[in-house]
Symmetry: C3
Subunit: 128 residues, 3 copies
Amino acid sequence: MTTVKGAGLGRDESIRRIEPGPRMSMAVVHGGTVYLAGQVARNAAGKSVAEQTRDVLAIIDGLLAEAGTDKTRLLSANIWLTDIGTFNEMNGVWDAWVAPGCTPARATVEAKLASPQYRVEIAVIAAR
Amino acid sequence: MTTVKGAGLGRDESIRRIEPGPRMSMAVVHGGTVYLAGQVARNAAGKSVAEQTRDVLAIIDGLLAEAGTDKTRLLSANIWLTDIGTFNEMNGVWDAWVAPGCTPARATVEAKLASPQYRVEIAVIAAR
Amino acid sequence: MTTVKGAGLGRDESIRRIEPGPRMSMAVVHGGTVYLAGQVARNAAGKSVAEQTRDVLAIIDGLLAEAGTDKTRLLSANIWLTDIGTFNEMNGVWDAWVAPGCTPARATVEAKLASPQYRVEIAVIAAR
């Protein structure tokens, strides 16, 4: 985890990076906002969209916790499905996961992902 | 509309959700920033891209108003078209809608959307 | 460049727009956050994905500088490739460009872009 002080003009907010890798960080915290990288089903690759969604949302729960927040403070979500025909299957898991009254703004579209093993990717922004 | 106080470390900013549903909220306000869900043409489903874009932008105007802001304070926009060949048709409506001198950062790509009735989806972030 | 004072309730942060055009601005600064438009390879259109990625990242460096920040303060990135099979080619250039320890949250998916000359588009959010 790295923290860099800002050199902004009167905006001296630090940035905290969670699981910073050579290509991307899994999450970045700036001021009161947390940006998560698009998450795929590391542990459920090749499995059903429902299983992959459950895995992705568990990974997101973990990253939000590392950032000092949780799913009740989600602001927005982008969801990509490799087959938009799996929209309902993904939503079945999503709808059971979100906190009632605390749902984020969301957009869901179809897109091919980096590896064919992955059928859903989710990136969220949350408040701390 | 629900308001949840933050438990952040020194970041105690509330979150306000507009039209919060069991799956997503239509807009979420956090600090000075407003995140809108990806909007589709509820009232112009199945119609032309120009008509759908007009409908989407009217819906966005309404949500921005509910959030206490307007299109002069747009920060960024993501636009998805089911057929990138309709780029110019969408832009004709978009260009007439944006406030001169107040245009957001924007990215437009092709993607299949949740329902084949919808040919354009737009998600924006605005300042309050 | 235009600056508009906010009329928010106790949130009076100005917005600064960089290269504001009639359709979009190339970057928008609000508070401590900078939103860049999706950038394509203006100077390397039609060339390889590696060459286009280099061009896009150089353009991003320039816009971040205009906004008073740089790549060490990246928060998140969205990357669209017209052919996800060029993922490794794009990453070769990306990995060499990012600042060690300062990598953003990132999501990369396949999508057709506005013009077939462009094979990669990148939009970033940064802290000032």
